[in-house]
Amino acid sequence: MPARWSPLAPLPVLVRARVAAWMRRRQGLDVLPVTLERRRLYILPTGAGVAFGMLLLLMLIAGLNYGNSLALFLTFSLAAFALVVMQQCHRNLLGIAVISASAPAVFARSTGAVHLTLANPAPLPRSRVEAALPEVAAVAADLPAHERQRLELPLPAARRGIVRIDRLRLATAHPFGLFRAWTWVHTPIEMMIYPRPHGSLPMPAHRGHKSGARARGGSDADEWVGLRPFRDGDSPRQVDWKAYAREAPLLVKEYSPAGSELHLFDFAQLTDPDTEARLAQLARWVVDAEAHGERYGVVLPGVRLGADRGPEHRHRCLAALAVFGIDDRR
């Protein structure tokens, strides 16, 4: 059942934006885990609920006009029923805890997901709690009493870069669909979208020797690869003190061990005029190199990532490719 992203959708865009801003001011930024308490739950009748209300109004008029007690009693019963339903709908969301929300990085032109963990600390089972990201179809889940549930909210990743989500919505129209209770959780979620690995150029061999710069302390066989930020445990002998004296951050000169393959993927060496195509090719190489267990580094205009391997390094490289040329507006 696809639900609209915002229960306020019938309102004009400007009003909606004002309301959203007001709710955000009112609630403040959320630090997970967050328990949904009364103050932040909103509730409005759905379209069906409004129609039900109209039906009740008609019934009331008919009952009053005919002076018919049974018809009036029926009308009042249904009206009270609607109020009970409103409470039940509200309660279906009340007290749920949002434990975590994160989005693992994905490649462009695929579908990523926000991983959302919800917990129901109460002895009351919750049904059909819908979680949704802006402008994306909702995902519904049932939360049995005292249980946790992990939801994956699909998030299309069209182009490389960072997708920032500043809020997600939890809503429910359970049990009768006459009301929709909802809340916004204002928690920043970032999804890194790597460039899509694409390209068929052969992986370039190492180019370390070309630079010709040999650092003191490195063994003859080692290839100088580049500079990287200082990490705990690095040998002081490898620190680029000269650079440090020039008030640069503490950098470490990196060498690749002799014998193992070392690749330096340089943006400038690619000839394709299309930046995206070049980045796609670089991403292809990074992925392949990592898959083959080789050491690799990435050189982009203004960015140089020294040779290394491992998932963290892969992420660093791909992330650098992802945000290349995209200015961070926020």
Binding site: A48, Y66, L70, F76, F81, F176, G177
Partner: protein, 659 residues
């Protein structure tokens, strides 16, 4: 067929069920073909879902809709009015079913089911139908749940809807009692033509027999004080003046002034609760002293005639006398009307008999007595299944068949009186009534229908004469059923054969009376009475508004509390509270427990800090760990926890390191 496939089908089935329920509730209101068409369309729609056949297109649907409107118009000549409206709603919703694909359409079907339920409520409010109405409301609400949430099981939906409706009940009652009612209607209501039950304004042989077969109550009467004896319990209905030799009729459009009367004997004060008979008669004991309501006319022949047919139950208070004397002579017009000559040449033998009897008697009163004596001694028989009478029905009855029931004898008696120029008229109504000890009232049923005569006697005025009482005196004290050796009364006699059943029937009737009195008739004035009882004498909109808002808020708070209770996380149990207390005590003398630290690890920390406390503290924390995480000792757990709580409470720790 996968589960995902069956979900929309289930929603459709439930929406159809809610609609079908509404259709069935109204089946006796609308022409049979309407119900049949609606049910057929439902069945067809469900079968298309199974076979995934195509639904008809827009043009076909539009044509069908036009045909439906035409058919309803042809039948009712209007689209206004409850019956026509119900039929139209039924058929149009059934057509809507043909384009029901989306969830929205299914909501509409459930709405139609609710609206048909409303139509049924507007039409019939009897207690026996209330469970049906409740079931339909429940069904509709459950269907709402199934339609709203794909994948809702039927049983879960029924449970949810039932619970919600039960929670809604208190507020519904409050609203019913205090929601401001209207003294009148917004607009004129068109009442449809209806089957007539009860006495009509004509009397012909056989018309009473039909009524006698009906066990339905006509009205109920509660006397303030003494009730009249059985032989005085004549409930006056239509008084008939015109006779064509076969059928007695009311004299339409005749309005005389009522004669001034002197009331004799006991005044009887009572309250009558009339069933909606869709007739204009308001039944009162013999001679009512005055009209009980501004809409009711007390006619010159002492009937109470309402301005509108009774479509809702009505109650009224009245005072009646069973004996009166006229203080004025009979007007010329009335005399002429009630001595109207018989159709010439009819019943010659009866006319001759009347003349003979009159000549022998010294007065009109003597003539009446002589006629009654003739009926008493003539070997007449009381039966509800007399032989059909010939072309001179009175002659045939008096000299030939000698068997008939109240209608025959009243008719014959009045014929004889008129033949001798004595003013006389036929009165129809009810005789008797059954005492209901549970409700403390008499219930008068259709089967108590009766016909008698009134004769004008100089110096006394109109005098009630019941010729049936002469033929079958026991009719005065017993119901019709006891008099009949007939198949007609078999089921009733069976019901009365067991005391337990009789009692149950009386209870049921009392429940009906209560329902009709307190629920169905709860209107604007009853609401004012109720508010008066709470001390609100002249309620204005603001008072009512406040009372209403307060009641609503109070109920909402209660419901919120009731429902919200289960949504909160469980409060920490006694063991957790004791543990928290222990930790707080230990934190006062040493390092705090880190959030990740379990009890045993914390014990180690404390022991390291205060070796002197080691044993005691370790024992307590280990005890907690054992109670919390260890295997449960079933019988003694509560006791163990209590013991742990006490030892925590007893623990006192000095700040300084001792020993």
């Amino acid at each position: 067929m996968t589960a995902a496939d069956s979900e929309p089908r289930r929603a459709l089935a439930w929406a159809c069920a809610a609609f079908a329920g509404g259709v069935l509730l109204n089946f006796d209101r609308v022409p049979a073909w309407t119900t049949a068409a609606a049910l057929l369309l439902i069945a067809w729609r469900l079968s298309t879902e199974r076979t995934s056949a195509r639904l008809p297109g827009t043009v076909a649907r539009a044509l069908l809709a036009l045909a439906v409107v035409a058919a309803v118009l042809a039948r009712f000549h209007t689209l206004n009015g409850l019956a026509a409206g119900t039929a139209l709603l039924m058929l149009m919703s059934a057509l809507k079913l043909l384009e029901t694909r989306a969830r929205r359409d299914q909501f509409v079907m459930v709405g139609a089911g609710l609206f048909l339920l409303l139509a049924a409520c507007l039409d019939r409010q009897s207690l026996v139908r209330v469970p049906l109405y409740a079931l339909q409301a429940w069904l509709c609400c459950s269907a709402l749940a199934v339609v709203a949430s794909a994948g809702f099981g039927g049983r879960a939906a029924l449970r949810l809807a039932g619970r919600a409706l039960l929670l809604a009940l208190p507020l519904a009652v409050l609203l019913f009692l205090f929601f401001p009612r209207l003294p009148g209607a917004f607009w004129a209501i068109q009442r449809g033509e209806q089957a007539v039950t009860g006495l009509s304004d004509t009397l012909s042989p056989g018309s009473i027999v039909k009524l006698v077969a009906s066990y339905d109550p006509a009205f109920r009467v509660q006397f303030a004080g003494r009730a009249p004896p059985p032989e005085e319990r004549y409930w006056r209905g239509p008084v008939l003046h015109d006779f064509d030799g076969y059928t007695w009729r009311r004299a339409p459009g005749v309005f005389h002034l009522r004669q001034r009367l002197q009331y004799l004997g006991t005044p009887y004060r009572y309250r009558v609760a009339l069933e909606p008979t869709r007739q204009r008669w308001w039944f009162a004991l013999d001679t009512p002293a005055q009209s009980p309501d501004t809409n009711v006319l007390l006619t010159y022949d002492n009937q109470l005639l309402g301005s509108e047919p009774l479509t809702e139950p009505v109650s009224f208070d009245a005072v009646s006398y069973t004996r009166t004397r006229a203080l004025e002579p009979l007007g010329a017009f009335a005399r002429q009307q009630d001595t109207a000559p018989l159709p010439p040449g009819m019943n010659p033998r009866s006319v001759a008999l009347a003349h003979t009897l009159r000549q022998r008697a010294s007065s009109d009163a003597g003539f009446v007595q002589a006629t009654l004596e003739y009926l008493r001694s003539g070997g007449f028989e009381y039966t509800l299944t007399p032989e059909p009478l010939g072309a001179d029905p009175v002659d045939d009855l008096l000299f030939n068949t000698r068997a008939g029931f109240c209608g025959h004898y009243a008719s014959a008696f009045v014929t004889l009186m008129r033949a001798a120029d004595v003013p006389a008229r036929v009165v129809t109504g009810y005789l008797g009534g059954e005492w209901n000890p549970i409700g403390g009232y008499f219930v008068v049923r259709q089967s108590d229908a009766h016909a008698w005569a009134e004769v004008w006697l100089e110096g006394r005025g109109w005098t009630r004469i019941d010729p049936t009482a002469v033929v079958a005196p026991e009719r005065l004290h017993r119901g019709v059923f006891d008099l009949l050796p007939d198949a007609l009364a078999r089921s009733e006699r069976l019901l009365r054969s067991s005391a337990w059943l009789t009692r149950a029937l009386q209870r049921w009737d009392a429940a009906n009376a209560w329902w009709s009195d307190h629920v169905v008739k709860f209107d604007y004035s009853a609401q004012l009475d109720l508010l008066g009882r709470f001390g609100i004498r002249s309620p204005d909109a603001r008072d009512l508004g406040w009372a209403f808002t307060l009641a609503l808020l109070g109920w909402l708070a209660l419901i919120a509390w009731h429902i919200g209770r289960s949504a909160r996380p469980a409060s920490p149990d006694a063991l957790a509270r004791a543990y928290t207390r222990l930790c707080r005590k230990l934190e006062r003398i040493g390092p705090a427990r880190a959030p990740h630290q379990g009890p045993l690890s914390f014990a180690a920390t404390v022991t390291a800090h205060r070796p002197d406390l080691g044993n005691r503290v370790h024992a307590l924390l280990a005890r907690y760990a054992q109670l919390r995480y260890g295997p449960a000792a079933p019988g003694t757990r509560a006791q163990d926890i209590e013991e742990f709580r006490r030892s925590v409470a007893r623990l006192s720790l000095s700040r300084a390191v001792s020993g």
